[in-house]
C-alpha cells in the first residue's frame, strides 16, 4: 500500500483531496441553498419544518452528513498543510511584487477567503446546527399530528436581527469569491483540460459562484424586510 501513502503525501495527491472535498461541499451547498428557499414560502414554515424533520429522521441523510463533516475537516486540514508548505517554499519574499499583473485576486487569496468561510461556518453551526441537533434549544410544533422542531421560527427570529444578516451576507460574498476560483480550479486539478469542456466548466463555475450566494442571501433579506414592514 506504499503507493497509496505516496499518493496522499504527494503535492498532486493533496490537491486531489482539496478538489474532491471542495466539489462535494459545493454539491451539498447547492442542495442546501435550494432547500432554504422553502423558508420564503408564505406558509409560516409548514413545508420547511416538514423538510427539516425529514432530514433529521431519514437514515441515509445521516451517512451523507458524516461524509459532509469529513469533507469539511479534510478540506481544512489539507488547506492548512498546503498553505504551510507553499509558504515554506518561499522563505525570503520579494521586495517589489506586482501579483495583480499576472493573476486574479481571488486565485491568490483562497486561504484568506477560506478563513472567512471558516469563521462564518462556526457562527452558522453554533446558531442553527448546534441548537437543532445537539442542545435541542428550540420550540416544537405539531404538523399533521407529528411533533417536530420548529426550525422555521428559530431562523425567522435570528434573521430579524440586522447584524446577524450582515454576517451572513459577508459570508456569502466570501463564498462566491471562493467558488469563483475554486470550482474551475478543482476540475483542472483533477486533470480536466479538454478544450471543448474546460470553458464550459469555467462558465458553470462563474454561474454557481453567483447563483449559490444569491440564493442563500434571499432568505435573510426576506426575513429582515418582513420584520421591518
Amino acid at each position: 500500500m506504499s503507493w497509496l501513502k505516496g499518493f496522499f503525501n504527494s503535492s498532486i495527491g493533496r490537491k486531489f483531496i482539496m478538489a474532491l472535498t471542495g466539489l462535494f461541499l459545493i454539491l451539498f451547498l447547492t442542495e442546501h441553498m435550494i432547500a432554504n428557499l422553502l423558508l420564503i414560502l408564505p406558509d409560516n414554515g409548514v413545508i420547511y419544518n416538514q423538510y427539516s424533520h425529514f432530514m433529521v429522521t431519514f437514515p441515509l441523510i445521516r451517512v451523507v452528513e458524516i461524509l459532509l463533516f469529513a469533507s469539511i475537516i479534510f478540506h481544512i486540514i489539507y488547506a492548512l498543510v498546503l498553505t504551510y508548505r507553499n509558504r515554506q517554499a518561499r522563505p525570503v519574499k520579494y521586495a517589489v511584487r506586482k501579483p495583480g499583473e499576472n493573476s486574479s485576486w481571488v486565485s491568490r487569496n483562497m486561504g484568506f477567503l477560506g478563513l472567512i468561510l471558516f469563521i462564518f461556518l462556526a457562527i452558522h453551526l453554533a446558531g442553527f446546527f448546534a441548537k437543532a441537533r445537539i442542545t435541542h434549544d428550540l420550540g416544537m410544533v405539531t404538523i399533521n399530528g407529528v411533533e417536530m422542531h420548529d426550525v422555521y421560527s428559530l431562523v425567522k427570529a435570528k434573521f430579524e436581527i440586522w447584524w446577524f444578516d450582515l454576517i451572513y451576507i459577508i459570508g456569502f460574498i466570501a463564498l462566491g469569491a471562493h467558488l469563483w476560483h475554486g470550482f474551475y480550479s478543482s476540475f483542472r486539478t483533477l486533470g480536466l483540460r479538454h478544450p471543448k469542456y474546460l470553458p464550459l466548466f469555467k462558465g458553470i463555475g462563474i454561474f454557481i459562484s453567483v447563483i449559490i450566494p444569491l440564493g442563500f442571501a434571499v432568505v435573510p433579506i426576506y426575513f429582515l424586510i418582513n420584520s421591518l414592514s
Binding site: S2, G6, S11, R90, Y94, T189, G191, R193
Partner: protein, 253 residues
C-alpha cells in the same frame, strides 16, 4: 537615458543580503537589460568595486540563464521574453528599477542575482528523458506521429528551464516546468513507454526539492517567456493519476 538601479547584493548563500543603489547616466535605449548590467559592471570595475554577479549565456532568449526579477516581475514586465531580450526602450528616462534574484527555497542565492537551479537538473534526471539504445537512427517515417501530438510535444519542448514560473508563482511551484517536460516526452511514441515511471519519479523529485503546490493562479503561464500553457499542469495531474491509480506497473520508491 538616466536609470537608478536597486540591485540585490549577497556575498554568499549564508550571508544576509541588501539592496545597493546605482545611478547610471548614459544608458542607450537600444541596449538590452543585460548590456545595461555590463555597463554598470564596467563602471564598478573601474571604480575598484566588486561587479554584480548575474547569470547569462546565450543572450538570445534560448538558454534560460538570465534570471532577474525586475520591478516585481520575472524577466520584467514585457511578456514572452527573457531578460536578455528585454530592451531599455521599455523603460522611461529617470526610472528606478529594482532587480532581485529568483526567490524560492529550492533556488538558494549563490551570489547577488545568481541562484542555484540544480533542482531542475535533478528533476530531469529523475525521468525527463527517453531511454534509447545507441546505433544508427531509424527512418523518420517508421514511427508515425499525429500532427497534433507533434505540435503539442514541440510546444512543451520549447521550455528553456529558466525558472520564471517558479519565481512568479505565489507558491514557488515548479509544476509548469515539470509538466512541460512530461508533456513533451509522454506525448510521443518514443516517450510513452516510460510514461508511468516518468510521471511518478519526476513528481516525487519535484516534491522532494521543496517546491510549492499549484493553486491554478495562472501566474506561471503569464510570465513564461516561452508561452508554456498551464493546461500542461492539468495534463500532468491526469498523467500522475493514471500512473498511480490505473497502471499496474510498479515503480520503485
Amino acid at each position: 537615458m538616466k536609470i537608478t538601479l536597486k540591485v540585490w547584493r549577497q556575498e554568499s548563500p549564508e550571508e544576509k543580503g541588501r539592496f545597493d543603489t546605482f545611478k547610471l547616466d548614459h544608458i542607450d535605449s537600444h541596449m538590452s537589460f543585460l548590456e545595461m548590467f555590463d555597463v554598470l559592471n564596467q563602471q564598478l570595475i573601474e571604480e575598484g568595486k566588486r561587479p554584480v554577479e548575474f547569470d547569462h549565456d546565450c543572450r538570445e532568449g534560448i538558454c534560460g540563464m538570465c534570471s532577474m526579477y525586475i520591478n516585481g516581475r520575472p524577466h520584467g514586465a514585457q511578456s514572452g521574453t527573457t531578460t536578455c531580450q528585454l530592451h531599455m526602450r521599455h523603460f522611461k528616462d529617470g526610472d528606478t528599477i529594482v532587480v532581485e534574484p529568483w526567490r524560492a527555497r529550492p533556488f538558494p542565492v549563490i551570489k547577488d542575482l545568481v541562484v542555484d537551479r540544480s533542482p531542475f537538473d535533478r528533476i530531469i534526471a529523475a525521468g525527463g528523458y527517453v531511454s534509447v539504445n545507441t546505433g544508427s537512427p531509424q527512418d523518420a517515417n517508421s514511427i508515425l506521429v499525429k500532427k497534433s501530438d507533434s505540435d503539442a510535444a514541440f510546444d512543451a519542448a520549447s521550455c528553456i528551464g529558466c525558472g520564471a514560473c517558479v519565481a512568479a508563482c505565489k507558491n514557488a511551484s515548479a509544476m509548469l516546468f515539470v509538466s512541460a517536460k512530461i508533456e513533451h516526452l509522454s506525448r510521443l511514441p518514443q516517450g510513452k513507454t516510460e510514461r508511468v515511471r516518468r510521471a511518478v519519479n519526476m513528481v516525487r523529485q519535484m516534491d522532494m526539492e521543496g517546491f510549492g503546490n499549484c493553486t491554478n493562479t495562472g501566474a506561471c503561464e503569464v510570465e513564461c517567456p516561452k508561452g508554456i500553457k498551464i493546461k500542461n499542469i492539468h495534463k500532468m495531474n491526469a498523467e500522475f493519476f493514471r500512473a498511480v491509480w490505473v497502471s499496474s506497473e510498479e515503480v520503485e520508491a
